[in-house]
């Protein structure tokens, strides 16, 4: 009786209520404002594109430049095989060690940041600050600044730079994962008398381990792409070799281009490898035991086979086992595989250490403290705020222009790569593969290349960033379209709608919010990348940053410029958070 009386009316009442009251007062205020902000950003992007002079004459000029360059340069050539192996080993070694360093550093930072594990509010703020600042300081700038305290060609500045800069992203995603993890096991450990540290390592960490590894692998890909730029800060490896080659015109260009191709192939191959591992990882949860075994088991596990292993484990020991017998862990196939892969991972790190040629005697200890101190206080040097603000604006323009180009193109690419939008599976697969290749492109290497051959700075940078952005945004768009619930689409189809009608009636509205936040994510990464463009010949804030970071007495400017980047990135993040809430 209570059910009859109570349950159905609320449903009706609620929907009537919602339709009548709730949306109307809200709609004009924040949705319209949100659309206004989005519109303003698009206008800004268009304006940036036009102000960057993509006119026909400048394009023809750059094509002329490119043809001249190509006609005068040597044919593409590659380093000797032995040298190539050495260079690849060094680059991969530096990236492995730098990413590993960041992965380890990000654990305490994330622990401080996450609401569920943070011991005190001030530690949350400290964690967030570290995360935001490390994300905003470009790794190349760090490498250049560190290089002063090291012997020339030492890999340590590169490792440290990657290690510190990557902490920002890894710790943020890791903290998110911690906040999404189940609080129950933590409570159980607390109730058993466990300390905070024990709560984390026994209850939280095993839950978030897959997310952590996936994030670290993702970061490894990004760092590999960035590592080419580290050559411009004097860090050895493929990037350095490429830079040396490109310094000699025209005879070095063939060699430089060859190395660029090697970097490109390396990036695409490792992108495919790591995304395969990530997919396995997020599809399944890795099981316990030692860390190494877990990492790789997680990376390689096959769910169905795993299940059958356990099946037999359940049925087999029908014979009574004693406690002493069980102390020895049985060598199941799973365990053998785990241990093998675990030691494989350890071996990889060891090999990286050796390849990267880490040598602590290369540190000039007497320069370390002055180097650190030189960043304070912040200063404008011989410039003033207006100059830096103008440069910042140029960087923001490059970021928005590239993001807008990426957005338009990746809407097409992404839609065609989505199962529920593509006209046929063949089309979908073709565009999926295209996106993987785009994603593998190291956009900064592309930028270097374009700047070299066209002689243009920011325009070439925009094109390069836009290219890389398609790979990322296209995939995110395709994924968000595929996540649209099928029921909604079927409902629209049953009304007799065409494919296009269905897309605009059901897929688009549902995917819109993801589109907004993904595009802003792209703007955010573009700002960081555009900052670096100055180092390879573009303009904007990166130009001043590069200038200042190579001279110790100018380090105060580095602090000022980095603070400006931090503020910009924070504003973009704030707008993104707000828009996500508005278009919920």
């Amino acid at each position: 009786m209570t059910i009859l009386k109570d349950a159905p009316p609320p449903a009706d009442a609620a929907s009537a209520d919602v339709a009548a009251r709730a949306p109307r007062p809200r709609f004009p205020v924040d949705k319209v404002a949100g659309l206004g902000v989005i519109g303003a950003m698009i206008v800004f992007g268009l304006h940036a594109l036009s102000s960057l002079d993509f006119s026909w004459s400048s394009i023809r000029g750059s094509i002329d430049n490119a043809t001249t360059t190509f006609s005068r340069m040597d044919p593409i050539s590659f380093p000797a095989f032995g040298d190539l192996v050495y260079l690849i080993g060094m680059t991969v070694g530096i990236v492995v060690l730098g990413t590993l360093l960041a992965a380890l550093l990000s654990i305490p930072v994330a622990w401080c940041m996450a609401v569920d594990t943070s011991p005190a509010p001030w530690l949350r703020w400290l964690g967030r600050t570290i995360s935001v600042v490390t994300r905003a300081v470009p790794d190349v700038v760090l490498a250049m600044a560190f290089a002063m305290a090291f012997a020339l060609g030492s890999p340590i500045p590169g490792i440290l730079a990657l290690g510190i800069h990557s902490v920002g992203m890894i710790s943020k995603l890791f903290a998110d994962a911690i906040e999404q993890s189940d609080d129950g096991p933590r409570r159980a450990v607390r109730a058993a008398g466990g300390s905070r540290a024990q709560e984390f390592w026994s209850a939280t960490f095993p839950q978030v381990l897959p997310a952590w590894i996936a994030t670290v692998l993702h970061r490894f890909d990004i760092n590999l792409r960035v590592s080419a730029i580290l050559g411009y800060a004097g860090v050895g490896g493929l990037g350095y070799a490429m830079r040396i080659a490109f310094q000699q015109f025209p005879e070095g260009y063939g060699r430089g281009l060859g190395i660029a191709i090697v970097i490109f192939v390396l990036c695409v191959v490792l992108e495919v490898v790591s995304s395969t591992i990530r997919r396995h990882l997020l599809g399944t949860d890795p099981a316990g035991r030692g860390i190494g075994g877990r990492i790789v088991r997680a990376a390689t596990r096959d769910r169905s086979r795993e299940a059958s292993v356990h099946e037999s484990a359940i049925t087999e020991p029908a014979r009574a086992v004693t406690v002493d017998q069980m102390l020895k862990r049985p060598w199941t196939t799973t365990r053998v595989r785990n241990v093998t892969w675990g030691w494989g991972a350890v071996a990889l790190v060891g090999a990286s250490w050796w390849w990267a040629d880490v040598d602590f005697s290369q540190i000039h200890w007497e320069y370390v403290l002055p180097m650190v101190q030189s960043f304070w206080p912040p200063s404008f040097g011989s410039y003033d705020f207006a100059v830096f603000a103008q440069a910042m604006l140029v960087t923001i323009q490059v970021a928005f222009a590239a993001a807008l180009l990426s957005l338009v193109l990746s809407l097409i690419f992404g839609a065609l790569a989505a199962r529920n939008v593509a006209p046929s599976p063949g089309v979908r697969n073709f565009f999926r593969v295209t996106l993987v290749v785009f994603r593998g492109v190291p956009e900064l290497v592309l930028a270097i290349f374009l700047i070299m051959i066209t002689g243009l700075g920011n325009q070439a940078g925009v094109v390069a960033l836009a290219f890389g952005g398609i790979g990322l945004l296209g995939k995110l768009i395709a994924d968000s379209f595929e996540e649209v619930p099928r029921g909604v689409e079927r409902a629209v189809t049953t009304t007799g709608a065409t494919r296009n009608q269905r897309f605009f009636a059901s897929t688009w509205p549902v995917g819109f919010r993801a589109l907004v936040s993904n595009s802003l994510y792209l703007v955010d990464t573009n700002i960081r990348a555009a900052t670096i463009l100055g180092i390879v010949g573009g303009g904007g804030i990166g130009f001043y940053l590069t200038q200042a970071s190579t001279v110790m007495s100018l380090h105060g400017q580095v602090t000022t410029l980095v603070a400006m980047v931090v503020v910009t990135v924070l504003v973009v993040e704030g707008v993104s958070t707000w828009l996500r809430r508005v278009f919920r």
Binding site: S202, R289, H310, A313
Partner: protein, 283 residues
């Protein structure tokens, strides 16, 4: 209550607990003697979990005080509180095992309170503890499952692992917050029997919250009824029958029919289907 002359293991006196708006407990006083098996009964939101969480210091009373094993819980510092929690084990409705760890590792986390520093992986625990954990698993009949992932076990098995984890603390007191609310009747019976056997063998004092009047009556030495954060019933089990419990519930606040209907639907879901009890109470 006066069955023994020894001092009580748990004594709660005049505890009131307020969360910003709600009053979860109101002037609750009770004592539990060594070896007693007590069930807390009450409707959803009556404060059972909150009361249990006061007993191991997961909550602090707004007023009043709680003494467990001779310690005044709200006054304890972090270190003493951890030491107390080592001797007061707890099991939960949702088991709260770490799904991606092996069963054995989960059991071993019960020993963390005695260990210094964080542990990760089986080999970070001393061999003696691993042996002990296996013995505890043997006790709950799951020795063979030691190296399986916790989330590959059935709900009843997972709760038995949680019991093994609690035993790992070598506790004096066992707190159980609706340990069988997520289990089917058969697993429920098995888990409750296991807790009872272990309590008898180890001389544990048990405080267990339940929804099922039937299980409570067949299982407890003593039943404490809570309603809206107040103790409305505290009687030794032999003096009670199910209808009496229900009568007392109803007698205390005859106006509140909705509560009884809610209780009834909860009861109907579990073990009482087909028995005369609930029908006669609410019909």
């Amino acid at each position: 209550m006066n069955s023994t002359t020894t001092s009580p293991v748990i004594s709660v006196s005049k505890v009131t607990k307020r969360f910003s708006q709600t009053r979860a407990l109101h002037d609750v006083s009770l004592t539990v003697n060594p070896g007693e098996v007590v069930v807390l009964l009450g409707l959803s939101g009556s404060g059972k979990s909150t009361l249990l969480r006061h007993l191991n210091g997961l909550e602090r009373p707004t007023e009043g005080t709680v003494e467990v094993l001779g310690q005044t819980v709200p006054e304890l510092g972090q270190k003493e509180l951890r030491a107390l929690r080592c001797r007061v084990a707890m099991i939960f409705q949702q088991f709260e095992l770490v799904p991606s760890l092996t069963v054995l590792e989960n059991v071993l986390t019960g020993a963390l309170g005695r260990l210094r520093g964080p542990r990760l992986g089986l080999w970070s625990y001393p061999r003696a503890l691993r042996l002990d954990a296996l013995a505890k698993l043997d006790r709950v009949g799951l020795l063979e499952k030691a190296y399986q992932r916790a989330d590959e076990l059935s709900g009843g098995q997972q709760q038995r692992v949680a019991i093994a984890r609690a035993l790992m603390q070598n506790p004096h007191v066992l707190l159980a917050d609706e340990p069988v609310a997520s289990l089917d009747p058969e697993s429920s019976a098995q888990v409750m029997r296991l807790i009872r056997e272990i309590a008898a063998a180890d001389g544990l004092t048990v405080v267990c919250s339940l929804h099922q009047v039937d299980i409570a009556l067949g299982w407890a030495d003593r039943v404490i009824g809570l309603r809206s954060g107040e103790v409305v019933l505290d009687t030794r089990n032999e003096h009670l029958s199910k209808t009496q419990v229900m009568e007392i519930y109803r007698g205390l606040d005859p106006a509140d029919v909705a509560d009884l209907a809610a209780l009834d639907s909860e009861l109907a879901g579990v073990q009482l289907v087909g028995t005369a009890g609930p029908g006669s109470v609410v019909a």
